[in-house]
Symmetry: C2
Subunit: 425 residues, 2 copies
């Protein structure tokens, strides 16, 4: 018997029928003696519908006042979900009560549409649990000091669930999603990809930010910070499968490093083909150049991912970075228009057809030669590496987009991931 948090995504909540299934699953857990807290997303499509309505009436410039209203509107999707799930649980004969973010309350800052959780008061939730009720809390939202509704941004319900689990010191936070766990890489690219039974939250952070879109990155950060055991599992298993089997399914994201000691050096291969690369050629090698280029890019609200500055020669250097491919033209115009001339650069090169491939593994901390093995593998396949960046548990390369599948498959194989013995994890 433990305090467990379940989080269900929009697809799981997509229709009255599916909500009934969720209710049956939650009721099964409650009947097994667990104290249950559930954080559901809005019904699939609902947030888009609401923001679509807003788009038709909203001002051209979205200032803070407008963002406050967007949150007022968008937050209703989850409010409907919690009410419906509470009713469905009551239909199952299971006492249940719903809470909005402001009722808990979940306190956030005032950054409308992308607020950050500051604190969660657990008193009311604990009182309801003590009365034997399932407590259902809206994901994605909270309340600021002014008493205005805030939302956490897209995918914020994952973060809400983890934050609630942290506040309640839950034994585990189960994220039900449309995949059955975290894989060594995308199975659509590498059919031999294996589901990981456990992954460290640091690896998960790198995997998530690199495009394994299983969980919202902030929720993983939260889980790591507050040491909340997080499990990603499938919402497509029948609701009445054996609870012990269900409790061990999916992938457990753990903060216990020891558990990983005997594991593979590399846990997964991540990739991202949504990037575009720029090189500002021949800029003078002097202090302030990086800021002069990237400051202007940041001011234009363009996110930069990989940044590489090569060694200089003859007092000049080349400065390269990647941005989201959607920002390609805007970045190019910006660089050619004012930035490059002002730095004295000789040329601006842009390439929207690149991709980033990364190996991720907490084992890299203690194993040498991992990056070298990566480069050798790519070289054997005749793949040219355009940029390289590394961190403690990750090595990323930027390569021509057309080699992406080939690179991922080759790396997946050479790091022994095709053969991961999932039963032993």
């Amino acid at each position: 018997m433990a305090l467990i948090v379940h989080k269900y995504g929009g697809t799981s909540m997509g229709s009255p029928e599916r909500i009934k299934s969720v209710a049956k699953r939650v009721a099964k857990w409650a009947r097994a003696g667990h104290q249950m807290v559930v954080v559901p997303s809005a019904m699939s499509g609902e947030t888009n519908r609401l923001l679509g309505l807003a788009k038709e009436v909203q001002p051209a410039t979205i200032d803070a006042a407008a963002m406050r209203e967007l949150d007022m509107i968008a937050s209703t999707g989850e409010q409907v979900s919690v009410g419906l799930l509470a009713l469905a649980l009551q239909s199952e004969g299971m006492p249940a009560v719903s809470y909005t973010g402001w009722q808990v309350p979940v306190k956030t800052d005032s950054s409308y549409t992308k607020a950050r959780i500051e604190s969660i008061d657990d008193a009311r939730v604990r009182a309801e649990l003590a009365e034997g009720k399932v407590v259902i809390i809206t994901g994605f939202q909270g309340i600021d000091d002014e008493g205005s509704i805030t939302t956490l941004g897209r995918g914020g319900s994952d973060t809400s669930a983890v934050a609630v689990a942290a506040a309640l010191k839950a034994a585990e936070c189960l994220i039900y999603t449309d995949v059955d766990g975290v894989y060594t890489t995308d199975p659509r690219v590498v059919p031999e990809a294996q589901r990981l039974h456990t992954i460290s939250f640091e690896e998960m952070l790198e995997m998530a930010s690199l495009g394994s879109k299983v969980l919202q990155i902030r929720s993983v950060e939260f889980a790591g910070k507050y040491r909340v055991p997080l499990r990603v599992l499938s919402s497509f298993t029948p609701w009445d499968i054996n609870i012990d089997e269900e409790a061990k399914s999916g992938t457990l994201i753990t903060f216990e490093e020891d558990e990983k000691m005997e594991q593979a050096v590399v846990s997964g291969i991540a990739f991202n083909r949504d990037e575009a690369k720029f090189t500002v050629v021949g800029v003078p090698d002097k202090p302030g150049i990086a800021y002069q280029i990237l400051g202007a890019v940041a001011e234009a609200n363009i996110d930069v991912d990989v940044i590489v500055q090569n060694m200089s020669h003859d007092g000049r250097t080349d400065f390269s970075f990647t941005v989201h491919r959607n920002d390609y033209q805007r970045t190019l115009d910006l660089l050619k228009g004012t930035v490059a001339p002002s730095t004295g650069a000789t040329q601006v090169l842009g390439d929207p057809k690149i991709c980033k491939v990364s190996i991720v593994g907490i084992g890299m901390k203690s194993h040498v030669g991992v990056a070298a093995k990566m480069f050798r593998t790519l070289s054997e396949e005749g793949i040219n590496i355009q940029m390289i960046t590394t961190s403690e548990i990750k090595t990323s390369v930027v390569i021509d987009e057309k080699y992406m599948e080939l690179a991922v498959r080759a790396l997946h194989k050479s790091f022994g991931l095709d053969a991961v013995d999932t039963s032993s994890n």
Copy 2:
């Protein structure tokens, strides 16, 4: 320059286009120097959609816990509306901010799905008005002492608007609807029906409860209690009509009796064909009989409208009453099954084909012979009166349904309503 409350119904808020029109109209009033508070309903169809979703998952028996969830769900319709209207006003360059019932807060009791407003805190709204903003407040809802969302029941947005106007001591509360005012009777029955420029709130109460479904009855009670001048006017006039013309349009519901002194004795003819009549024949004329019959009916949750008990003869009397026609069979079964036998009645007569026609007028207080004139008019048309009830400002008769139109037209004419000079009111 005054503090004005506007209320817009679901049809006015029915699409982004219409919401933009509402925003332009409100902006016009604000630019004319008024402090504006707006109470919009949910977009038309939205509350039904939400309750339809709830119906698919809700338990068979709706207890207080389930009703709390229904309010959680249903209240989101208005929350979306206020956000959209605030955005539309901001698009017009008009500073605007939305408030939910709980943010104001609008305090209610805990009667979920039919809560009553207990108090409204005007501090935050006044502060926003003082900053030059249009304040948009959700209709239909509030918050109870536990911090749970409550709703006021169908049509509750009218009541919210009036309550907000009362709390803010607004100069006038304008209810924009799909009719252009209150008429002497239903123009579909009597083409000569005239729009009233003013009507007393007492007359409006009688008209509303008798089926002139222009305003929710509770909103009129509220307006009377707090002496809020209430105007019913059309939301179909172009948003840019002259504001002085608009401010005088529709029907003003006033609490100033003097204004009515010179008016017609009868202000309107109301009717209701949704009723059914019962007579319990030959019950012993002794204390407790009325309670014995109506107590059982009330316990079955059947609303009784007109009640008439005739003089007794030979120690027995006949007891008649009307109920909603939908409750006809249930009432008949109840009376024949247990109630009538237990009272010693000789017979139960039921008639689902009746209607009620009423003359309403505050002038009746000081004029004698009004009822007699009504009876004479009906007699001249050969219409038999089955039941009669009277109050201070209303006389109602129950007649055969097939004579309804005839009776309404004849009464409308004989009380001089065909000839109401609307320009002098």
